[in-house]
Symmetry: C5
């Protein structure tokens, strides 16, 4: 997530200059041919204009849907924040063993496993998928595939939170976060059986676990079900068709002018309009996958850290980690 007011023009342009350049290079021979030969290659502008407006609608629909995906992803992680705080407050008030230091130990264990779950979920969500923009992954932050590096990264982060034995038990499982939460559920039942809280409170804990599963599952839904590729592809190929016809249509307009050199204006104009359309196409494309480990991601690392700080402070800890800061205006 970018945290400054606007991407400046050159940043925007640099990121998206390919279609501009290709637009120029494509229009150049067309203009040249028209200028140096006698043959009229031009196409009438009117139908191309209807095409352009239709494509702009379609891109609007796509941008809307992509934005909804990003915004929903942020909502889900907002939900995780809220559930985690409620869980923290519940753990700190509901659990009573009669022995303050035992209370603290149990509370810590539950809250630390919760932070471990956040960590595992975060890593799982940033594994790479076929339809994502691998070329834009922030280097070194997350492993793109399940491998030894991946497990080491998670292990390093959770080693202070759960026992190594517990972690090793999760490694062969298909979905680590799911099994962590199941452990949490079993432990809560065990604590209840020990009489540390009653049925009413246990059921509230159970509903929080249901909520965490729901938020995890919602994140995974956005991760695993891309903006349907048929819709995305039509956006791409429609933009492509429109911009492919563009310079031929511009020719007919510029050739109406009396100044013969005006024909060359086809080239920059083509580049510019091609750029604007592909910019609108790309901006949606690059916001479709809010967990791909790239710069426009929903900042789940930073959100997880904020949750960790709040929960540790509820436990009375003072030596809490610092919030994640933006680097060059990007917050991950």
């Amino acid at each position: 997530m970018y945290t400054k007011r606007n991407y400046n023009f050159w940043m925007t342009f640099n990121w998206s200059r390919r279609p501009f350049i290709i637009g120029l290079l494509y229009a150049l021979p067309i203009a040249a041919l028209n200028h140096f030969t006698e043959i009229d290659f031009s196409l009438p502008w009117q139908p191309i204009s209807v095409l352009g407006i239709s494509v702009a609608f379609y891109l609007g629909f796509k941008n809307n849907s992509s934005y909804d995906r990003t915004w929903e992803a942020r909502k889900i992680w907002g939900g995780i924040v809220n559930g985690s705080r409620t869980f923290g407050a519940a753990v700190n008030s509901f659990i009573q063993t009669g022995d303050k230091s035992e209370d603290l130990k149990i509370r810590q264990r539950l809250i630390y496993r919760h932070i471990a779950w956040l960590t595992a979920l975060r890593y799982q969500l940033r594994l790479s998928r076929d339809w994502e923009h691998h070329e834009d992954r922030v280097k070194g932050l997350y492993s793109p595939i399940v491998c030894e590096v991946y497990f080491n990264d998670i292990d390093r982060e959770v080693s202070n939170l759960i026992s190594d034995e517990e972690f090793q038990g999760y490694k062969p499982k298909a979905n680590i976060a799911t099994q962590m939460m199941a452990t949490q559920a079993r432990e809560l039942q065990a604590l209840h059986d020990l009489g540390y809280f009653d049925n009413f409170r246990h059921m509230e804990f159970h509903r929080l676990i249901a909520e965490f599963y729901a938020d995890q599952g919602r994140s995974e839904r956005i991760k695993n079900f891309p903006f349907p590729r048929q819709y995305a592809s039509v956006a791409l190929w429609n933009t492509f068709v429109f911009t492919a016809l563009l310079p031929w249509g511009l020719l007919s307009i510029f050739s109406e002018d009396t100044d013969a050199w005006h024909i060359w204006l086809t080239v920059p104009f083509s580049g510019l309009i091609t750029w604007v359309f592909f910019l609108m196409e790309k901006i949606g494309d690059y916001s479709e996958n809010p967990f791909e480990g790239a710069y426009n991601d929903v900042p789940i690392t930073s959100i997880s850290r904020a949750i960790e700080i709040d929960l540790r402070e509820m436990l009375g800890e003072t030596d809490v980690p610092k919030p994640i800061a933006a680097v060059d205006g990007f917050l991950m």
Copy 2:
């Protein structure tokens, strides 16, 4: 569901080439008549352009609604994932007979029936409906009608999960999945009556059953209530009217040009614009029915399998089935 970044151009084109070809064939005699006779058949472009923009709006509305249907279907199955995990965690913590092996047997029975319910639901959802695209069904995956093959398919998949006797009891019922869940409810009451869990926990189980019924019913709503055919038909006939007028309008534009051969450009241009409009029309049309057993389906087989793996791993099983893999980029 397609899992690669984009359908490539030829894949897209091949899938939708019919309107392109028909567009060509329709425009050809029109251009020829105009060229070889003296009569001016052309229609003015301006009103056709207003028509085109209006039709593009309407298609935008249709695409939006179709997308919402697909996305809602995915959300519902995401909800089934979340509910199933919570159910798994609850079954594994709440049920306590005092005898570990008895615990496991009961837990298994409940979870296996849950997987059987998923299977039955999945098969029911992929029976065919009048308004679906039967020509695009993936061959052999699902039976299109209720018949012996259909029952055999389900039987084969659930034979390890529920007793044959139980399965035979479901066969005459109108809705197998509904009755399976009702059995689940009766069994939970019986287990409660045996004292294996108390009222609080029973009520949580009951609410999960209500949730599963809700998600089943939501899937069936999308299955059984198509995008209203009056809206779909207007999209189709409007696109048809626009593209039928198209070559006559293009004639008037190309005949303004001095080069007489330009008139023939009407033909490819007609084909192209017809193609773009019908592409936008079809893309929505083919995403309306997310459970029709075709390539753009929400991948419910794969989702069900993922649930099965998670639930079996919660039971401590290690010999779990593999996740469903995409075939040629398609995940079912």
Copy 3:
């Protein structure tokens, strides 16, 4: 609800041919006057085109809202399906008198009253309202007003479900369905007082009743609060203004052509564009009221029947009614 893939062209056209014909008849004298007199009646096309695009937007907004009404109506009835199944499962597991045949009798009584409630609600929803399309009501299915026929129809359908005495008690009430559900609530309290289920289970029943009231109220909201008539009227009059100007504008375009007879093309062209715009106007208009007893209704008769079948099968009945079948492709 129409259940085939598309309304065919002539079906669509027939249903909406009035604006086409009026468009023709209106344009004819205009073209004739222009042709046979020397006076130029034409209006410039450009502003009319801006008007047309603006009206197309507005119709898009209206179609969207109408569709949302239909879809919400279907969602609500989907909710009734889900709640009813949960109710069925609850009734069949929760109620225990200790005597199996007594159990069955009570369960039957509750479930039959539930089906009676569905029936009453269904009839109430299909009474006619001032703003509905009375000319399109399916003949003989439902009485349009509260009268003896209306009560007889309901009585016939519920006579096997509740006692005649109970039914007579409802007749003077303003809202039969509401009072039926209130009876259900009182009976559940009485059954609880007899010790047939405990507080936990009673509260679940109570929440289901709250849900049924909510779904009933939501249906009534859509029934009783039309798409605001000010918005609907503006759509109508805007389309009217646009199509009234249309032939005058087309005149100016066709009179540019050298072929004098082209002026007559104004007539079919006017008819066609008028038809397309009114088609978009009407399609929303005829989907606004999903319970008006007409062909595009949400199929609440068929949904109610499906619920009845599921609930009776849960009771173990085998002599259940058949599902409602579509007639000529229409499902009510």
Copy 4:
């Protein structure tokens, strides 16, 4: 709320004729100047057309948002209906003192206070706000400000429902409805303390109170937070700018015609397009505030009455008030 199928044309036109007339009066001297002087005042049409389409989009966005406000308001009051019925059913089944006549007295007291709350809320919601259309308030129905008349109106309506002493206690409070509901909560606790219902049932009552507070608060949100004035103002001023440029642009089109008198067509045409645009602007504007006491209001008086009838009939009363009828097609 208007209850007929459509506002007829003249009703619509009369209501919105101001912009038409001003459009005429504004265009007249412009056309005259152009006709009688030699100076060409015309502006080119093309950029004005882009402006027109852009403004039409913006109005579409505004109409959409206004409609959402009205529809949400209706949903909220639908929610109040549903909650009230559930409350009625709960009051009539849950409360058991052992003495039938005492039961009835208590049930009546609770339900009557509920109707009093509806009345107070209704009056509060129809106090006037700075941004509302005061000129359109239905005369005499509701007092626009808090004053003696206002309190007398409420007092008259609630005098049969709660004791005068109780009503006097509410008068100095900032929000009468809020305090009424708080009294309801205190009374329910007192009834519980007397043993008339147990904890389970008390908690259901408490959740209903939470729901009523939520629906009250949602109504107040729509009442107190207008469609943001910055968005509304931009719609207004954009429409204004477009229509101010309109006749100058039309001049350039009509002056192309050979018939000199055509220049005068600028005048009616200007009026007409100005009218269509301001009609679209006004229709949203007049649906923004669904509780302003004007003709397009959500009919909360009628809804409240329907609730009152249902609740009284649940109590077994037969002497219930009549439903509110529409007056001249308007239901309040």
Copy 5:
């Protein structure tokens, strides 16, 4: 929030005059060059018009999203109102120590801490963020950064509500509001342990705390996650590209006219269209951040005050603070 019916034209214009002036200044030399040199600098209008319409779509999408952010913010704070009233009613009915004056003291303590939480949340939400419009902050109302002034402001407001000791404990915490609510949770558990209310009621309190955490977290989500800057930047740069091409395109139109002086009309026309487009761009931009301490903010100070009044009146206090009044039509 602005509370009058419309921003008047000059207010609107003044606020947004920069693009108008820059539009003028930018077009002036272009028109001059064209007039005084022989070179034709003009660009054809048609493609610029397609660009304009596409940009207008994109701005529509952006305005829609910004509006949704503001409206959601208002909904969240409406939720806080509703939850707070329910909390007030619950505190006043549920807590019973047996000693009326002790009851009052405890109720007061809980409600006052709730108001303190509202205050802290309000201050936190109005700290400034990188992407906000700092130039528009209302002076002196809120401190833009965490500093001594900030703590003093909060301290001053909460000093009558919670003990100084309690407040000092919150100061080192990352999120004061979160920890206040955690204290509330702990105190409620302690009160329950003293027997002042039972489990049922405690759980209702717990759910209210979960709700308050949810509403706090939702506010923070809108505060901390801006409208994605990539979307915002594309809106800005697209508008910029369109308006940069604008005067060159207008030149070609005005130079068609026979009156040579018409070329100068390019200048005001450019200014005007530039202004309309940037007005639509800015209006969304300035409604994106509903908690930035500027004039279009959701009025959280006023809402908090209204809650405070309602809650104090529930406690029976008569010496309650006045509602916040609008200043110059602005309510904060």
